[in-house]
Amino acid sequence: MNVQIAEWTLLNGQNACSITYLRDVSGLSEEEINELIENGLLTPIDSKAMAKIFPMHSIVTVSSARRLRDDFELDSHGMILALTLMQRIDDLQSELNLLRAQFK
């Protein structure tokens, strides 16, 4: 078995990336990424900074947004609504996981 040693990036809150990086990785336009920021779905590390940088886990959000846009043929309003609802589901799932861990 040929095993390749792979370099990876952990998509966490400790590493950071630029809006250009998010655009290149996801395939979303900067305009669409800015709409995600305006709607609270992406939060820059320092919102007052001129050049915004984002926690690396933002890649998960932008990739998901691009998939939803393409796979459901959504406009930006539909994409934002779907992402907002999905984030609420994720929050509820986290609470459910916590309760399950506490009470089995």
Binding site: M1, N2, V3, Q4, I5, A6, E7, W8, T9, L10, L11, N12, G13, Q14, V25, H57, I59, V60, S63, S64, R67, L68, D71, F72, A82, M86, S94, N97, L98, R100, A101, Q102, F103, K104
Partner: protein
């Protein structure tokens, strides 16, 4: 090449209109889209649905697909002579070609001689990691089948194994991006990325919530009543835990910073959830002692039942 019945995948007739195909796709996509569905097989199912839709919504590709004729799902079929001529390959060159990879390349216009660079597809693979690996850090192998293009431009799936290091502090559902390790780009396009989605494998003792861990701590009635010291398991090894007198069932005893490492270098907490258990069978001597206890105890666990109902 193995046949995939795209009409059956979408649940439409071969005579279905484009509108019927779209409706069927949307209905199924709502059920199985990996960002929406919690079905563990959702991603696989959605890929099949998306492949079927990508082919049937495009009149040119649909016509090409229809040339294959009618077969059962999974049947081997001989590619039409014009495909063989187009790719400069005989029928055996198509043997291990995945029909979805083939139509995906077709969609990108590779066989049309288009020269525009096309980025390779991103792939996502779920990786189950033992809790011990998350706690200590460690390496695991991830195998994923990715298409490779031969000299004729035909896509062939080949298994690729990547060794990736799980860092301390990795969390459930966290992603790792392996840049350029997805599907190959074409016409000089960039390769896609591979995303490894971490899931922490169920552990026989510990339940995971973020960086915190929980486990059940069974106690005997006398340990709960008068307190006790005991060895309890933690991911880093056993530690001594003191249970105070008067402990009740369902209490959470916190062992600070004994949980999983966090990405900021701190650690979560470990909680022992108390469960008072009684023996199913007791000896005569034990029964006598319980009766003595019953006679002398003033404890009234149901005192609050004596409220007047207004």
């Amino acid at each position: 090449m193995k046949y995939k019945d795209y009409y059956e995948v979408l649940g439409v007739a071969k005579t279905a209109t484009l509108d019927d195909v779209k409706k069927a796709y949307r209905k199924l996509a709502h059920l199985y889209h990996p960002d929406v569905s919690k079905d563990p097989k959702g991603e696989e199912k959605f890929k099949e649905i998306a492949e079927a839709y990508a082919t049937l919504k495009n009149p040119e590709k649909r016509a090409d697909y229809d040339k294959i004729g009618s077969h059962k799902n999974g049947d081997n079929f001989t590619p039409p002579p014009e495909w063989q001529a187009q790719y400069g390959s005989d029928a055996s060159g198509f043997d291990d070609v995945d029909i979805s990879d083939f139509f995906s390349a077709f969609r990108s216009g590779v066989h049309k001689g288009a020269n525009a660079p096309v980025k390779g597809e991103d792939y996502s693979v779920s990786v189950s990691v033992p809790l011990e690996t998350v706690f200590h850090g460690g390496a695991i192998n991830v195998t994923v089948e990715l298409p490779e293009y031969d000299q004729h431009g035909l896509p062939h799936r080949r298994p690729h194994t990547f060794r990736i290091t799980i860092p301390k502090g990795a969390q459930e559902a966290q992603r790792m991006r392996l840049a350029g390790k997805g599907g190959p780009g074409r016409n000089g396009g960039q390769s896609g990325d591979l995303f490894a989605v971490l899931t922490i494998a169920p552990h026989p003792l510990f339940r995971v919530s973020g960086s915190d861990l929980y486990f059940d701590l069974p106690l005997s009635p006398w340990e709960a009543a008068i307190g006790a010291s005991m060895q309890v398991p933690t991911p880093g090894g056993n530690v001594e835990l003191k249970v105070k007198s008067g402990t009740t069932s369902g209490q959470r005893l916190r062992l600070s910073k004994r949980g999983l490492p966090k990405e900021d270098g701190q650690s979560g907490d470990l909680y022992a959830v108390t469960q008072i258990q009684v023996p199913k069978e007791i000896s005569q001597a034990e029964q006598d002692l319980y009766q003595q206890l019953s006679a002398i105890s003033t404890f009234q666990p149901r005192a609050h039942f004596n409220m007047e109902v207004k």
